[in-house]
Amino acid sequence: MNAENNPSSSPASSASTPEVAVPQAVPAGFFGAYLASKGIAVENLGSDATGMEQIRLTAENALPAAEALKHHPDSPMDLLLSVAGVDLLTHRESVYHVQSILSSQFLIIKIAANEKDEAPSLFAVWPAVDWHEREAFDLYGIVYQGHPDLRRILMPTYWEGFPLRKDYKQEDPRLVWNNR
């Protein structure tokens, strides 16, 4: 009950009215067009099977594009849902799922890692990527440049290799599934 000891108890959101999401129907390629209007070139990957827009960013324009998306005037993409590493055999890719609470639009951002498995971290824009990027680093070995605390999270610290890579082999006879 010590109010003075409690930094998170500042009455920032006291007694405000609830904000209600207003779903908007947006045309295909909405966010890609928006980024293009901002002068950021993105590769448009169309929609996936669930109708979410997918874009691919390069390492250079990832941060400005993310910044622009977060401050989109109509549907600010403020909620980062997950970061999925994907092993494409040729290279590895991180897939960011972001959502706008206000317009409840989803967007999928793909950023490919380079040959040294380096990719830009979006921590500066969405701090929520913290644990998610650590997980992708842990399981895929994608090194996020600019992440403040990139350590293993799920596997033990002494673990060797990155288990979710397709070429990962664990030579333990008990793990028969690796041989299938």
Partner: protein
């Protein structure tokens, strides 16, 4: 010299100066106490380890260590066919595993373009909302147990078992259901099942009132929850916190309402929201969500196409027989049948099923927040990549920021109010 190694002497600072006046800070050489809470601890709800630095009883710093329950669910997907993998995803979030299955089968249905009959969607909605009630009941019981009240825990488990008995009659299992199928469900409702559900939802509000009589306005509960662990909108977004915690912070963000899946656009319900963002607000939102779930279930039972399972099964048998006979004798009349009543949109051979190559991301509103499944298929029976987005993973990551400056005994109340379960964090 021997005495120096005894534990009693280690806490004595080497050069204690005699106290001058009343200046406590000069007189005492104080150390922070590092307490290792977990991985086995009554209140960490699984195997979570919290390395906590305490100053007296005030939390100065905290670092969660996770991974003790890591069972490589995502790696398992790459070595099993989709149907073979499906039973194991019950274990991703075992307290509400219908939600895992919903996200998973929805992914496959979206990638393969499988239609789902309306009756199946209603069955799914009934099971989902019942599962939300069981999950919230478990949270309710353990939350109050963390606060120190033991009786509501048993009451909650009593009612939870009642729902589990309903689930057992439907799916054959009490917790690990493996019930949904691509484009349908495993089996139709048993005869009389809907009436039993109706009996439960008629009786449940009375018991919920009993729970609330014990807890909701109890001065000790109020004192321990109000104003504690304030998780503002900004902090929620900073850590990706979703679900009741986000709604308690003043966002009416519920995917059932904003991005309706299944047939949630056909039922009427409210999204409980509070603006106070504290532990009590999260409590209130969850309790209210249970009442809303009852409302949804009641509408689903009233409106489910085909009604109860028993007679519909007999009719289906007649239809099948007549259809078969009609091929030989075209004069036979086939009884009327609505495609809404089907159990499968398109019956697929689970043994050899190969979805086309594609990608899908499905997010559903699980009791703990947004549960997501991201699936990449490559035309083989196995998925190239299945990523689970557990709500607890993000919700847990805000705990250190939330706990700093609070008393140690607030830890359990605040952690309990986030409703984190570890299998979903570690997967």
């Amino acid at each position: 010299m021997m005495m120096m190694s005894t534990p009693s002497s280690t806490l004595t600072p080497p050069d204690v100066k005699p106290m001058q006046g009343v200046s406590v800070e000069k007189g005492f050489d104080t150390n922070d106490l590092v307490v290792n809470i977990g991985p086995q601890h009554p209140s960490t709800h699984g195997v979570l380890r919290l390395i906590t630095t305490l100053n007296g009883e005030v939390v100065k710093d905290m670092e969660p260590v996770i991974g003790y329950l890591h069972r490589s669910k995502e790696k398992m997907a790459e070595s099993r066919s989709l149907f073979q993998y499906q039973p194991t995803i019950d274990r991703v979030e075992y307290l509400s595993s219908f939600y895992d299955h919903l996200a998973f089968v929805n992914c496959v249905e979206k990638i393969a373009g499988l239609g789902v009959p309306k009756r199946v969607e209603y069955i799914r909605m009934i099971t989902l909302e019942l599962n939300r009630i069981t999950s919230h009941l478990l949270w309710f019981g353990t939350f109050l147990l963390d606060l120190g009240a033991s009786t509501p825990f048993f009451w909650a488990f009593r009612d939870r078992e009642e729902v589990f008995t309903l689930f057992e009659k439907l799916t054959g299992a009490r917790m690990m259901y493996n019930y949904y199928r691509f484009g349908g469900v495993n089996a139709d409702l048993p005869s009389g099942w809907l009436n039993e559900v109706r009996k439960f939802i008629d009786d449940f509000p009375r018991r919920l009132d009993e729970y609330e009589a014990v807890a909701t306005k109890n001065p000790i509960v109020l004192d321990r929850t109000i104003g504690q662990g304030i998780l503002t909108k900004e902090t929620c977004l900073q850590f990706g916190v979703t679900g009741p915690a986000l709604r308690a912070a003043g966002y009416a963000a519920d995917l059932r309402k904003t991005n309706p899946y299944s047939c949630y656009n056909e039922v009427e319900f409210e999204v409980p929201v509070a603006t106070e963002a504290d532990t009590y607000a999260r409590y209130v939102v969850r309790v209210q969500e249970m009442r809303e779930s009852l409302k949804i279930i009641r509408q689903c039972i009233d409106n489910i196409p085909g009604g109860d399972g028993g007679e519909l099964g007999l009719l289906k048998a007649k239809v099948d027989e007549a259809t078969k006979a009609k091929k030989k004798d075209p004069t036979i009349e086939v009884p009327a049948w609505n495609s809404d009543w089907d159990m499968f949109g398109k019956k697929i051979n689970l043994l050899t099923y190969k979805p086309p190559a594609g990608e899908a991301s499905v997010f559903v509103e699980s009791p703990r927040g947004v549960l997501g499944c991201y699936m990449v298929t490559d035309g083989t029976p196995k998925a190239a990549r299945v990523k689970w987005r557990g709500a607890s993973f993000s919700n847990l990551s805000c705990l250190p920021a939330l706990m700093k400056g609070h008393m140690y005994s607030d830890l359990m109340a605040i952690f309990g109010s986030l409703d984190v379960i570890m299998p979903e964090v570690d997967r």
